[in-house]
């Protein structure tokens, strides 16, 4: 298939995801497909497929065993997806999905960046992902994952010097089995939930990062996920370990071609922060949201969880969710170490027929643990956004503190905004505060802006940008610029 849109390039713009945001056409700009040779396996899922995936990745036996265990557990659930979320979709036929798609065949895998299929490089170039290392200015180490495999990881040398391991997880399984064995599934076990189980059985690639003790990662690490193959699902697995006293900032971006059918994306992300370590995880999720009539789009069913395993550690999730037909995602933090800190900053935007059921879980186990949740929901068109969050203070969490703020903005009278917080407190010394508000863009504010000569549309964007400011501030600078633009593009047609 030829690309339907070829976005113009401009050097002045930040280069991450919303390449052509200056062009205010509401069409999904990342919807092109590339025509490359792909190696795909037949549709369907059974034990042989799991074995085949494992074999294709050349995995050791222990990994295959782990996958099979996960698969056998998943099969027992008899395709019964969780139904508690406020989302609607026709039943997914798990036998009608391609579980493995790789560009090119394994035998002639590229040894270096120069050998990567130029078509692929061009695709990522089109997306604004700087795979070529000459683009030093970008200052981001990227692991690019196309369909089921990682195609390129940049800045390897620089990272190696610092002792940082940043590679596709398939390589980590082979080269760093001790780390993988120790931590894979330790935060999100395969029995955790339906989609995590499915992912554990069939995950094909993803990123692995290990930051050694006392190292502050010199550049941002980034994984860019792209689904290209039709009818395929993407099941990536990310594992990040920050050893004692280390720091890492990790970015994640995603897009997919515009297709009429729904595609499944069921990822698992695990973060482990040891003593005094800090992990900052930022996501710009821009999977194909479906067209204006709600056709197509990605089902984004993701399990993300981090554990502050030892004292004084910190995990911070920042997410901007503008894409996907359906988002089902609850990045969580288990605050196990004393004095550990968990943060969750989120903007979830739904337009047209999009649905989002997203939020977080903060599980306080250690003493003097603190968590902050700031969630902003924007509903437009016929979209429905739900914030669903759990704050749990266990009996041992002396002096734990939580502050939660959830605000929802409604644009148009066909959309819905819902807030479903769960607060469970088992310790009397804890202090938990939750507040939420829901309203539309204030007429007074709009009037004020218009009176000063700002058009209705611009006034809306200004107010919405202000509404999301708290979150954008948490994003790395370039991402923040992108996020603002992405919001603007996603809302096109809904305001003014």
């Amino acid at each position: 298939m030829a690309s339907s849109v070829t976005p113009p390039k401009s050097k002045a713009e930040p280069k991450v995801i919303s390449r052509t945001s200056s062009d205010l056409d509401a069409d999904y700009k990342w919807g092109f497909t590339i025509d490359i040779e792909s190696e795909v396996i037949p549709k369907g899922l059974n034990e042989d497929v799991v074995r085949l995936i494992s074999q294709k990745k050349g995995e050791p036996d222990w990994m295959l065993e782990w996958r099979l265990k996960a698969y056998r557990h998943w099969v027992k659930q008899d395709y019964r997806e969780p139904t508690w979320a406020n989302i609607q979709h026709p039943p997914i036929d798990y036998q009608d999905i391609i579980y493995y798609a790789a560009p090119g065949s394994k035998d002639d895998a590229p040894k270096s960046l120069d050998e990567v299929d130029p078509e692929i490089l061009e695709a990522f170039d089109k997306l604004g992902i700087p795979l070529a290392e000459r683009e030093r200015l970008a200052g981001v180490a990227v692991d690019a994952v196309l369909d089921s495999v990682s195609v390129a990881t940049t800045y390897q040398d620089m990272l190696e010097k610092a002792g940082i391991i940043f590679c596709p997880i398939s390589e980590a399984i082979k080269n760093h089995p001790d780390l993988v064995k120790k931590y894979l599934g330790s935060v999100v076990p395969f029995a955790d939930n339906f989609y995590a189980g499915l992912n554990s059985a069939v995950f094909s690639d993803g990123s692995f990062a290990y930051i050694p003790p006392g190292v502050r990662c010199p550049i941002e690490l980034m994984t860019y996920f792209r689904i290209n193959q039709a009818d395929s699902g993407q099941f990536e697995r990310t594992l990040i370990i920050a050893d004692k006293g280390s720091y890492v900032s990790y970015l994640e971006g995603c897009t997919a071609p515009a297709r009429k059918t729904n595609q499944l994306h069921a990822a698992v992300v695990e973060l482990v922060a040891l003593e005094d370590a800090e992990i900052k995880y930022s996501t710009l999720q821009n999977w194909f949201p479906g067209d204006k009539d709600g056709n197509g789009g990605v089902y984004n069913f993701v399990t993300k969880r981090g554990i502050c395993k030892e004292r004084n550690s910190k995990i911070s999730w920042t997410q901007v969710e503008t894409g996907s037909a359906i988002t089902w995602k609850y990045p969580s933090v288990i605050l196990k170490g004393d004095n550990s800190v968990g943060e969750f900053y989120s903007v979830a935007l739904v337009n047209n027929f999009q649905q989002a059921d997203t939020g977080t879980k903060m599980i306080h186990q250690g003493k003097n643990t603190k968590s902050t949740i700031v969630a902003k929901g924007i509903s437009a068109g016929k979209g429905n956004a739900t914030y669903r969050g759990l704050v749990k203070i266990n009996s041992g969490a002396q002096g734990a503190k939580n502050f939660t703020q959830c605000d929802s903005l409604l644009i148009g009278d066909q959309c819905g905004a819902h807030t479903v917080p769960y607060i469970e407190v088992k310790n009397s010394s804890a202090q938990v505060e939750h507040e939420a508000s829901t309203s539309k863009v204030s007429d007074d504010q709009l009037f004020y802006c218009q009176q000063r000569g700002i058009s209705v549309e611009d006034a809306h964007y200004m107010i919405i940008n202000g509404f999301c400011r708290d979150i954008f501030q948490e994003l790395p600078f370039e991402f923040a610029m992108e996020a603002g633009q992405l919001l603007k593009v996603s809302l096109e047609g809904a305001v003014g």
């Binding site: 009278d413 807030t419 917080p421 088992k426 939750h434 939420a436």
Partner: protein, 458 residues
């Protein structure tokens, strides 16, 4: 996951007996209603399966399902309880007082102030008599707002529907005296169950005050468990105003499940305050339907739990029409190993524009073993709305405590004072003076002393 099956057979014999009586004397529609409800109950059972059941997420009703409760058979002479009753429940001789003993109307204990009820216009009666005398509109009013098809407890109550209160205020009438409904359980020697039913219909532009109290008193040496399965249906016609109070002060070993459904018409105003103390497991399932533009409700609540008590409040407000407003303010004080659950749901339906809704649930934890589970949700399908909610859980404020102590109060007195002030905010909303006093004393007495030392002195 283990699931406790409801022992339907426990209730079977009682039901057949009731049915026979009913068939002999009651109108056919009531027998039919009872049959439908019974059949539904046999299908539903009690909601012991909690997985995926958001309404019962934090409350386990297995103790109710496992016990074998029967209807109270030994009739106690009501007059024996008069002095205890005055202590245990709110009372004023000026009020219209209806007392139900173990589910049956007690004429001896009641005091139907003739001045108001006897004028032939305003009707305050017990349901059994209303049924027997063939009250004309009963069929239209009964079981219209409580959907027993969806709820095992409501179905069981409807199946056993026999007695309760029937308050009907005709259009334009103003009921001067509060109607005081007391459902009294005298714990006898075996585990008993009663099924109080309250039906309140306030006509166009009419006004009334209704107090519902559920109390338990001791009689006999044993203290067996007992179960109160209450259902209340309230309807407010256009422009009606109702002040409603609900007091649950059951005995320590009691199970209480109360299901209240309120339906409000155009421009009606419903104010409610719910107070709960006592009972080993209490559930207050309260749902308000704002079914006419301009309707508003103001719901307040206060609960105090100690020991191993479990208190569950599930408050739902359905904004079905535009220009409706709701205010919800619940507060909890938890001590011992008790657990409080708050589930609040505000639903704003599509096209219900210009809605304002505010929810608040505040909890004070006095003991390190107490647990609170709060879930105040907002489901909003209209855009021109002002909605918000807040929930907090914490200990007595240390700064306030320090302030009082620096002025010479000891830690216990200071924290008692703060806890009392916390409770007062809700008690202050009571507009009926004798009731306010009664509640203030009830709660002041119940504020625990020991629990405060934990964090209070720090």
């Amino acid at each position: 996951m283990t699931q406790t099956a409801t022992k339907i057979s426990n209730y079977e014999a009682d039901y057949q007996a009731i049915r026979e009586q009913r068939a002999a004397s009651n109108p056919a529609w009531l027998t039919q209603l009872g049959d439908q409800a019974w059949t539904r109950f046999t299908e539903l059972g009690f909601p012991t399966a909690r997985r995926g059941n958001e309404r019962w997420k934090y409350t386990n009703v297995a103790p109710i399902a496992n016990a074998s409760f029967g209807l109270s058979s030994d009739l106690v002479a009501g007059s024996d309880h008069e002095s205890e009753l005055r202590r245990a429940a709110p009372w004023d001789d000026e009020w219209i007082n209806l007392v139900f003993l173990d589910g049956r109307f007690s004429k001896v204990l009641s005091n139907l102030n003739a001045s108001d009820s006897g004028n032939g216009r305003i009707l305050v009666n017990n349901l059994a008599e209303a049924i027997n005398s063939g009250a004309a509109n009963l069929e239209q009013l009964l079981a219209k707002h409580v959907k027993f098809q969806e709820d095992g407890f409501a179905a069981l109550n409807t199946a056993f529907l026999g007695d309760g209160a029937f308050v009907q205020v005709p259009d334009g009438s103003v009921l001067q005296s509060p109607v005081n409904l007391i459902y009294l359980t005298s714990t006898s020697n075996q585990p008993t169950v009663c099924y109080p039913r309250t039906l309140v219909a306030v006509g166009k532009g009419a006004q009334a005050t209704v107090i519902e109290s559920y109390v338990g008193i001791k009689s006999g040496a044993l203290n067996p468990e007992y179960f109160t399965n209450a259902v209340t249906e309230i309807s407010l016609a256009e422009g009606a105003i109702l002040d409603h109070y609900r007091v649950v002060s059951e005995a320590k070993q009691a199970f209480h499940v109360g299901t209240s459904r309120i339906s409000q018409g155009h421009d009606s105003v419903f104010s409610s305050a719910s107070f709960a103390i006592g009972a080993t497991l209490a559930r207050n399932d309260f749902e308000v339907l704002l079914d006419g533009p301009g309707a508003s409700c103001n719901l307040n609540g206060l609960y105090l739990t100690a020991d191993a008590q479990h208190m569950d409040n599930l408050i739902s407000i359905d904004h079905a029409q535009p220009h409706t407003s709701s205010q919800l303010n619940y507060k909890g004080i938890l001590d011992g190993k008790s657990r409080a659950v708050f589930g609040g749901q505000v639903l704003v339906r599509k096209d219900a524009q210009k809605v304002s809704a505010h929810q608040s649930d505040k909890n004070l934890l006095l003991s390190s073993q107490a647990e609170v589970d709060s879930k105040p949700s907002l489901l909003i399908y209209a855009d021109d709305v002002q909605c918000g909610h807040g929930a907090t859980a914490g200990h007595v404020d240390k700064d306030s405590l320090f302030y009082l102590r620096s002025r010479g109060l000891d830690a216990d007195t200071a924290s008692r004072m703060l806890v009392h002030a916390f409770a007062r905010e809700v008690i202050e909303t009571v507009k009926v003076e004798p009731l306010k006093q009664f509640l203030d004393e009830l709660f002041l007495e119940a504020i625990p002393e020991t629990g405060l030392k934990l964090g209070g002195a720090a």
